[in-house]
Amino acid sequence: MIRGERGILSRVVVYTTLILITIAFLMPLVWMIATSFKTQSEASRATFSLLPDDPTQIFKNAKDNYTAVWNDPVVRFPVYLRNTLIIAGLSVVGMTLSSAIVAYGFARLEWRGKKALFALVLATMMIPFPVVMGPMFLLFSWIGWIGSLKPLWVPAFFAGAFNVFMLRQFFMGIPKDLDEAARIDGCGNWGIFWRIILPLSKPALAVVALFHFVFVWNDFLAPLIFLRNQDQFTLALGLQLYQSKAGQTPWNHLMAASTLVIAPVLVLFLLTQGALVKSVATTGIKG
């Protein structure tokens, strides 16, 4: 629409703004990683340099800092990593499978009460977790789950409202002729679900799994309430413990610990090549 010199000027303004925005959003992460490659005295000194004074020391510093964090005798990151992976692995499987089953019931079957129940599913998305955290803690301690990781992964096997909503949308887009053909071949609902719907929904299932993995990795309040001893901590809790443990944690070590906790989700983001961005774009618009 806009051509000529004004066009060039406005392009310069647009790109300059975008580059400044990019710096603002990524600098904290860059600074975190840069700090984790410095020595303790270099980290606590007023300098803008991203590199250590002697750049050739970068690998030695990195090795020192990350091994110090990994082998900390009190705050045991290897244990927290294992716990987080157990919770994330089980939750992701449970959440994806159970949400798909429930979504099939809403997308493909006709039964009385369906509309009202689906409205209820959507309405539950508004209920804040803090409202139920107290009674949930008491329930879990009553059945003896406090002291185990169960409170954090068992509920994932009972589907999540948002994921049910997303998968239902996707399933409804799969042609019903396929179901009919399978029914004639003698397939029941389970056969249709398992042999037709699931294989055709791999991209949507992957997005649900990915989102839930990120959610579990990030969660702070639920682990804080349900995990009572340090052997069961997740990485998020461990990071806070590492920061708050007695004495001053040196900044280069704290940033190395933060990088360790954050890196897996960032690597996952890069590996999936922006699948998360694309799915956010498509789900948000349906609101």
Partner: protein, 301 residues
Amino acid sequence: MSAGSSQLKRDFAGWLWVSPWVIGFLAFLFGPMLVSLYYSFTDYPLLEPPIWTGLDNYRRMLSDETFRAVLWRTAQFAIIFIPLATVISLAIAGLLNGKVRAGGFFQAAVFIPTLVPMAGSAMIWLWMLNGEYGLINMSINRTFGWTGISAPNWLSDSKWAMPSIIMISLWSVGQMVIVYLAALKEVPDEMLEAAALDGMGPIRRFLSVVLPLISPVILFNVVTLMIGALQIFAIPYILSAATPGGDPRAMYFYTMYMYDNGFRYGQMGYASAQAWVQLLITLGLTAMLFIASKRLVHYRA
């Protein structure tokens, strides 16, 4: 008879397929909500059984200064954060909506911080906002040092704690940027061209063509932001614990006080009453937003 029984069969199959959600809803949401409603009318120190005290917990809120302070602080956060986040993410989406090269890179750059776990983001900002060696204060002091202005001690200065929390929260608006960008891409070019031919400038085009078309998406995002803002917990919880020199009340929010009542002070009854007030506020404000936006939001057929 056979028609009736096949209908029953179909009902049974339907409910069976959705039963995982129904069971989970009853066990982990509806049940706990009812239980917490009951506790909210009791005095429940956890080690002894609850004792019915009627409306005492709710009455206590009215005279509890800490309660009023955390409620007001949380409201302040929501009132400042939601419009700021909306305007900033819309503006960035608007910039990206033009013919921008490397658009994917810029989208990734604003999206990546939304993936950072809150504990991690608290640590990063603890360092960025450090009074002495934080990157932000070094930059401010280096740039404005000659004027005699010096940067604040963000987290330990009670005046600057709230702006800090808002700034940290704004760091993760990337998800909304992506959603707004998708919405802007849906606005038909012909409508914008027609508006330009009518002599509308870019600002009027945005206000009277684009804004109405994306208003359902704005409403959805504002509701989501509001529900999240009222629950803000992890960032202020971690940062106030990590700022021993600061005023502990400056970063004390609603859910933190509720957590302390329930899990540290042994007052599950009072905490449950606060939980229900939080739920009612959330539902009330959501309903208000939907009603107020009836005239403003345009749904396309």
